[in-house]
């Protein structure tokens, strides 16, 4: 049996590093060699809007909620990742591991509960989330604009 | 039973806290009753402790109860603890007892006052401090109580601070006491530096560590403290001014209890006093001189409370004289009897003042025995007691002191006897001017209209008078010369080894007592002749005596004026130019460098991170330099 030396232990990591660098470099090289060499024409770069030539910059608005849900997903996704190593050594860990994972799941579940309660996952017209914001009515907005027009423009709309 | 000792200070403390919190809401008279009950509780606790102490054999009546460690710094270990021994419990008994009576009296006396509840807050705080002073097992906690009673005295003297005279009298009392306190502190430092402890029992068992010169210095410093608190020469003239306070205050603080704290301190430190015969001579002479000087002044005053105030100074002079002679038990015997009859006299005088709507001038009194029968009767007892007429308390206690002084030094004894004569004389003068002769208050005098018919005080004020009159009459039984001498037996162990024994034969004691009696009667008789009808005899009240031997003028010229000049110089030249200049210079230097330093705080995270990196780099460079060096 070969006695593992220090270098042996780190070899795998080193290998991973090399492969990672090679992959990143390879992607660049591949796209450069395989992609079309010609510069795209103006029409090709322009955004597509049902065949009509746009006369102003396209609005690029996504509801912030979209990102929020995506972030929440990532968190839970990563939590799932933790379950893999557990599954691998499930038998060695025995009941201790099971309890640990159960506690872990409870924590995750409670945070899900929290997210639901704050309305982070409720889709549709936002109500709860905006409870903290100053409620605006058409009247107050109009008054505000009037006032803004009157006063010097030192104020940036919040 | 001894374990209830902690309740003695706790009761007034709780009373104080309760009144401080809810006093105004409780109002009149509930606040007064709560204050009284708190002190009554302390009195009961004292009696229980006392009974417990009596249950022990006479040589084992010493008991320390620790609550918590206060200052544990290196060699200085100070605990909040009480030392229950015959001396402290004896003091506690009459302090809480008399306080209880005077609280009761105040309920009636103060009933019209705006700051009714505030009065009882102060009174309870006073009782707490006084009990603390007496019960403490070390000098520092005693000092806390000492300062506590001082500040309560200040508050109470200046209780009617809207009056200029009251406010300045409070300040005067405070200043004089501060001078004494310096003595206390220095004595404490001196003893600590030699013995390494402030605990009484430790000090007393290590007195050999004090050299004789050190002991004399410590005794004199302690005596300086006592002269401040107990109004002895040269610090005595705050006490008459302190009469600006309400009369119950004068009775409680400036007659019965606080002013005896100095005597208590000297008695408590008797093993140290025992080391210095020179120091004791100084104490004896000063005490005797104070007794005499104050008695002469008392003979010439026109204000009923001023007479009693100087009388108090004189009587405490007797106690100090006794302490100086080593007759501690005689001093304590006089102290308790004095508490009874002087408390009584002040309360009765308060009753007179109350009845005459705050009139204090003797010239505007007279013939009051018809209108104030209760007051008259009780005052009569007090008068005879202090004058030394047998068989009242004053006769026995003063006789005990004088017998000891006689055995110690004949000149001092002569001065003491003359003072005793003067005492009988001025007290009789006071009595005749107040209760006999013409009813001068019926006439208008100068711009002041005639008084209404005086009214007798309500029962809450009469009960304390009666109780105190009873005590003043029979107080002598505590320590009658031919009996087993109860007080001597009880207090003896505290003063073992330092007590002076006069070794007089029974016959000579009786002769001395007879002389005392004759002197007292002579004083009464002389006053009878001179003052029974006439209210004004300018020849007998010369300006020299009226102005207190020009003592205040002397201090004013010696200390007051130069002091003011120095203060003015310091304020206008030293402070305004030198100190402010330096301070402002430093301040502007700091400010300009700070303004520079704050520019570093740019608000940008990148710069902050740079700061961290630079700091880290500096540390690493330092480390690298170390590895190279080594």
């Amino acid at each position: 049996m070969i006695k593992p030396t220090l270098v042996d232990q780190y070899l795998a990591i080193f290998l991973l590093l090399v492969v990672g660098v090679l992959f990143a470099a390879g992607s660049f090289v591949a796209s450069a060699t395989l992609g079309p060499k010609k510069k795209p024409s103006g029409a090709k770069v322009a955004p597509y809007e049902c065949g009509i030539v746009p006369d102003k910059e396209p609005p690029s608005r996504f509801p912030v909620r979209f990102y929020l849900v995506a972030m929440i997903f990532i968190i839970f996704d990563i939590e799932i990742v933790f379950l893999y190593p557990f599954a691998v050594i499930f038998r060695q860990l025995g009941s201790f591991g099971l309890v640990e994972v159960l506690i872990f799941s409870v924590v995750v579940f409670v945070s899900l509960l929290y997210l639901v309660s704050t309305g982070a996952l409720s889709w549709g017209p936002a109500k709860r989330l905006q409870s903290g914001m100053p409620s605006r009515t058409s009247e107050s907005t109009i008054t505000r604009i009037t006032a803004e027009a009157d006063g010097p423009s030192t104020h940036q709309a919040a | 039973m001894l374990h209830v000792a902690f309740l003695i200070p706790l009761f007034p403390l709780v009373g104080f806290v309760v009144l401080l919190t809810f006093g105004r809401r409780l109002g009149n008279p509930l606040a007064g009753w709560i204050g009284t009950i708190a002190v009554a509780g302390a009195f009961v606790a004292t009696i229980i402790t006392f009974a417990g102490l009596l249950g022990r054999p006479s040589n084992a009546r010493e008991f320390t109860q620790s609550y918590f460690s206060w200052i544990p710094v290196g060699g200085l270990q100070v605990k909040w603890a009480v030392l229950v021994d015959p001396l402290s419990i004896f003091m506690c008994l009459f302090v809480t007892g008399v306080s209880m009576l005077i609280h009761l009296y105040s309920i009636g006396y103060m009933h019209e006052d705006r700051d009714y509840s505030k009065f009882f807050i102060y009174l309870n705080a006073f009782v707490f401090s006084m009990v603390l002073l007496v019960l403490a097992n070390n000098l520092l906690v005693t000092f806390v109580g000492w300062e506590g009673v001082g500040v309560c005295s200040y508050w109470l003297v200046a209780f009617w601070f809207e009056r200029d005279s009251a406010a300045s009298a409070g300040k005067k009392a405070f200043m004089y006491n501060r001078i004494g306190d310096v003595g206390f502190l220095l004595a404490m430092f001196l003893i600590f530096s030699k013995v390494g402890s402030l605990n009484y029992l430790t000090i007393f068992s290590h007195t050999h560590l004090l050299g004789s010169a050190t002991a004399t210095a410590a005794v004199l410093l302690l005596f300086l403290a006592a002269t401040g608190k107990s109004a002895q020469i040269p610090l005595f003239n705050w006490l008459p001014d302190a009469m600006e306070g309400p009369t119950p205050v004068s009775a409680l603080i400036h007659a019965a209890t606080m002013v005896t704290a100095g005597v208590y301190l000297l008695c408590r430190m008797n093993p140290i006093l025992g080391l210095s015969s020179d120091g004791r001579w100084v104490i004896a002479i000063i005490g005797c001189a104070t007794a005499f000087v104050a008695a002469t002044i008392a003979s010439s005053q026109h204000d009923i409370k001023k007479v009693l105030a100087f009388s108090t100074v004189s009587q405490i002079g007797y106690m100090v004289l006794a302490v100086g002679c080593g007759a501690y038990i005689a001093a304590l015997f006089l102290m308790v009897c004095h508490a009874f009859y002087k408390g009584l006299l002040f309360l009765a005088a308060g009753s007179v003042i109350h009845g005459l709507e705050d009139e204090q001038e003797l010239a505007r009194m007279g013939a009051l025995r018809k209108w104030l029968p209760w007051t008259f009767a009780t005052f009569l007892v007090g008068w005879l007691a202090i004058a030394g007429i047998p068989p009242l308390a004053g006769f026995w206690s003063k006789g005990d002191v004088l017998a000891n002084v006689y055995a110690k030094s004949f000149p001092l004894y002569v001065a003491g006897v003359i003072t005793a004569f003067l005492t009988a004389y001025y007290m009789s003068r006071l009595f005749y001017l107040t209760f006999t002769g013409k009813a001068r208050w019926q006439e208008a005098a100068g711009d002041q209209p005639a008084h209404h018919t005086p009214h007798e005080s309500p029962w809450v004020m009469r009960i304390p008078l009666l109780v105190l009159a009873f005590c003043a009459f029979f107080g002598g039984v505590l320590d009658l010369p031919w009996t087993n001498r109860g007080l001597n037996n009880f207090l003896g162990p505290v003063f073992a080894g330092t007590l002076y024994h006069d070794n007089l034969s029974m016959t000579s004691q009786w002769v001395l007592l007879a002389i005392d009696g004759v002197i007292a009667v002579a004083g009464l008789a002389v006053a009878w002749v001179l003052w029974r009808v006439t209210a004004s005899r300018p020849a007998l009240t010369p300006a020299f005596l009226e102005r207190v031997w020009y003592w205040d003028d002397f201090y004013d010229a010696l200390i007051g004026r130069p002091g003011q000049a120095v203060a003015r110089f310091s304020a206008t030249v030293i402070d305004a130019k030198v100190i402010d200049g330096a301070v402002n210079g430093v301040a502007s230097l700091v400010k300009s460098s700070s303004t520079g330093a704050r520019r570093l705080q740019t608000g940008y995270v990148r710069n902050y991170a740079l700061g961290i990196v630079l700091g880290l780099a500096a540390i690493l460079v330092f480390m690298v330099s170390r590895t190279w060096w080594s």
């Binding site: 070969i2 593992p4 232990q9 070899l11 060695q92 860990l93 409870v106 924590v107 409670v110 945070s111 509960l113 929290y114 639901v116 309660s117 704050t118 409870s131 903290g132 914001m133 100053p134 107050s140 008054t143 505000r144 009037t146 006032a147 009157d150 006063g151 010097p152 030192t154 919040a158 | 918590f68 460690s69 206060w70 200052i71 544990p72 301040a587 700091v590 400010k591 460098s593 700070s594 303004t595 330093a597 704050r598 520019r599 570093l600 705080q601 740019t602 608000g603 940008y604 710069n607 902050y608 991170a609 700061g611 961290i612 700091g615 880290l616 540390i619 480390m623 690298v624 170390r626 590895t627």
Partner: protein, 598 residues
Amino acid sequence: MSALAVVTAHSTIVLPHIRYLAILPEIVMLGGAVLLLGIASLVRRPLRVTVSTVGTIVIAGTSLGLALWQWADISSHGPYTAIDHAVVVDGFSVLITITVACAMILSALVGDGYLRREGVDGCEFHVLAMVSATGAMFMGEANDLIIVFLGLEIMSIALYVLAAMNHRRAASGEAALKYFVLGGFSSAVFIYGVALTYGATGTTNLTQIADFLSHNVIASNGVLLAGLSLLLVGFLFKVAAVPFHMWTPDVYQGAPSPVTGFMAAVAKAGGFAALLRVFVSSFGTLQSDWRPILYAVAVITLLFGAGVALVQRDVKRVLAYSSINHAGFVLLGVEAATAQGVSASLYYLFTYTFMTIGAFAVVTLLGRRGDGHHDIASYRGLAGRQPLLALAFAVLLLAQAGAPFTTGFLAKFQVVDASVNAGSVPLAVIAMVSAAIAAFFYLRIGLIMYTPVAGKGFLPGIEPLDDDEANAGPSGESETDGTGDAAPAELSAGNGQRPVWSGTEGAVVVRTQLNAELLLDTAPGEVQVLDPSEDIVEADAVDDETAAESAAEDTAKVPVPALAALAIGLCVAVTVVFGVIPAPLIDFAHKATLLFIP
């Protein structure tokens, strides 16, 4: 192939024996936080703050009780290590646990009023604070660098989020981001230090490091010293020592005031606990290497903290710099590297917790709705309006200045004493000089509170600053001399002092309009009216937009919620009572040090 063999060779996993009692306070705190999060999520929105506060006090109280039980346990049975020696239960760790639990209870009391006032109806503040407190407790209990790091991260990450808790304040967001970026940076530095230390000694266990260092003489200890330096930087960042302090003023100012108080107390307690344990006990043999560094850091921390605080106008910034100054004082005890120094530092940390939470509690109340009125000028005449509040603040400030008969004096006295006994006399002198400088700005706040609004110009040295500020004009100028540090406009914008509307007519229109809406809301008597978020926020908007009114509002009384009053009262009581009767606490800290196992 060989790597695979290594993995399969250890096919049985040896689990250490876990003594749950050793970490019970932490388990309760963390478990309680999770439980509370679940419960608060299930109850109705208006009840959440109440449930959180009550829950937090119960949980932190239980944790405190358990810590006291641990104290009794180790007093009779002696200290011990547990969980494969990764955790140590000794007087030191229990004292830190108690400190943190106390800080948690007090902050919960203060936070309750704040959340209601600001209309933040959630359990986030309480839950995050408890998580953060758990981290600090672990830092005190850690006997392994990995546990230290775990504690550090648990504590810090929760604090980053806490700083941004009130997401309606732009300043909070900025503060949190700064804190997060720099905190991440310092954590990286710290973990690198752990790695280097491991490389040099072959272990991360503190006891084993100490053993290793006492039994081996390393010829070339460059790696170890580098690791030590990096660890030191990680700690010094957390405790806000110069020059790693720069986040402090911005974060303290920007974070919601109750969070600031909590952060000041807990982050310091945790950071110093780990610093003391790692350096004094594990690296004790390397004293000659790290003591000079701490010496230098202490000197500049003391002087910088005290000096720069002088020229601040925002009370929270003043307190931030004062906390830097306090960190310098605690460093005195660390630098001494003696048992006395450790005891003094512990005493300092414990008492500072009460002083700082109390002070920030007052600042929270005086910040008014929107938490923006922190300019020193708005404190003028406070004593006339609310004498008790002013008195409490004055006492707490005096304590921080080190006035006698407060715990602050004893704390300073003890660290200076320890420093002198350790031979660092010049350092002690500098510390006292800095205390004298610091006394100025504490007294200045006190003086301003006790100066009537009408009576201007009571101190020539102070007036110019006020005048500057009065004429400072729009926020653009704050870049140079507005809020002290020439901080970017975003931060200074938070304090509501910028004159947004020069024409007041518009402001008045908005105000009346909003008032009308308020009235409309209340008219039908709906349940909504009870929901504090609605009306408070609208008033908040008024606050932000009509700075002209802030002057009038400055002279109005601020409401003092009962719980906040209780918290302030407790802080003042502890500060004064144990200042007058010092023995119990000094004994406590002293005994904690005696039970310290290296």
